[in-house]
């Protein structure tokens, strides 16, 4: 059987543990449809945490770029 070492893939939001890798390619609408009525937390907030790459902003600091 496949070795599923999930330790570095799990993110816990509220009382739910998500496999972060499962959301690659999933849209926000698909996420909200899948989890409608199933989470005790706000779906928009949950989506933000599951898609951290979307929230990474490029540094505008000149110093950082050097």
């Amino acid at each position: 059987m496949e070795n599923l070492n999930l330790n570095n893939k799990i993110i816990k939001i509220g009382n739910t543990e998500f496999n972060k890798n499962s959301f690659e390619g999933m849209t926000k609408d698909e996420f909200k449809k899948l989890y409608r009525g199933k989470l005790a937390v706000d779906l928009d907030d949950a989506w933000k945490q599951l898609k951290p790459k979307n929230r990474v902003k490029k540094s505008t600091s000149k110093k950082d770029e050097d």
Binding site: N3, L6, I10, T16, K38
Partner: protein, 314 residues
């Protein structure tokens, strides 16, 4: 065990160092299957201990082993321990003199306070197995036998000697499970050894065994998920104690129809109903059969041992 006479070398020296450790009274037993599936003794390879220390990682790997055949099964604390050999067997002659034939059998018994029928049932499952035992004493030493280089091995029990029973409470006593067994005649007390408590950094004294978890009801099954109520075997028949605190890493879902692992998307533990879990999975095909088990690779992250259950996709 027959003790070989050292005819060629004379008797053993009887001196002792000025300071040396001895076993203390037993507080817990660790039951193991004496032989691993590969036929080797289910012992502790001393070279496998990090820096010669039995640490928590090692203990967890043994107690929470996903493979029940090599797992350690520590008992709760034991009370009123007896661990004694019967009188030697001798042959007596007409002149009333006698000669030593063999040692009497070593019998062990102990009580588990608040032992109940569920624990009793699990103890009874050991009866037909070839059992080995390590002992944990009051000082936190781990006691086994050393009969092969590089290992501390479990002590072999006499086949079919393992017995457990329920002692119901009375006006003046608490309910208990009793536990007894006989050490194999193949064993020799002279081979008993220990890993001293000072070389054990794990929380060995008081270590708990796994608790059985079963799926009581599976509901709300769709192609993308299901709910399941997970309970322990303990509690009343209408009020089983729920299995709480489980998470994504505590499960593996296998599609038995397509023979493939299903990577679970999420597991939600209900905040309303203790032990109720909602699984979300990638879309499966109607009529597929899913099997939910412990993770394939251990050790388990919790002290909960999930009995596999089946989910039939509608």
């Amino acid at each position: 065990m027959a003790v070989l006479c050292a005819c060629g070398t004379g008797g053993g020296n009887l001196g002792r160092p000025s300071c040396f450790p001895v076993f203390d009274v037993t507080k817990q037993a660790i039951l193991v299957e004496y032989l691993k599936p590969d036929g080797s003794i289910n012992g502790i390879e001393l070279a496998g201990l990090t820096g010669g220390i039995l640490d928590q990682t090692y203990l967890d790997a043994r107690v929470k082993d996903v493979n029940g055949k090599s797992r350690w099964y520590p008992t709760p604390e034991l009370k009123n321990i007896t661990d004694e050999r019967s009188e030697d067997i001798t042959e007596t002659f007409d002149d009333t003199s006698s000669v030593f034939i063999q040692e009497g059998a070593r019998s062990f018994s102990g009580l588990i306070i608040k032992g109940d029928p569920v624990l009793l049932g699990n103890l009874q499952k050991w009866r037909c197995l070839t059992i080995g035992v390590f002992f944990i004493d009051k000082a936190g030493n781990l006691i086994g036998k050393k009969t092969r280089d590089g290992y501390l091995d479990p002590i072999l029990l006499q086949d079919e000697s393992f017995s457990a029973s329920l002692i119901k409470g009375t006006d003046t006593t608490k309910q208990k499970d009793s536990l007894s067994f006989i050490i194999s005649q193949l064993e020799n007390d002279a081979n008993l050894r220990m890993i001293e408590g000072s070389d054990i950094s794990a929380n060995l004294l008081g270590v708990g065994g796994l608790v059985d978890v079963t799926a009581t009801t599976v509901s709300n099954i769709t192609t993308t998920g299901f709910d399941v109520q997970l309970d322990t075997s303990f509690g009343g028949v209408t009020s089983l104690i729920p299995a709480e605190g489980m998470g994504l890493a505590d499960f593996q879902v296998f599609n038995n129809t397509t023979s493939s692992v299903v990577t679970v998307t999420s597991v939600t533990e209900s905040t309303v109903t203790a032990g109720l879990y909602t699984f979300v999975i990638p879309a499966q095909t109607a009529a597929d059969e899913l099997i939910v088990t412990n993770p394939a690779v251990g050790p388990l992250s919790k002290s909960l041992d999930l009995a596999q259950f089946t989910v039939n996709i509608p």
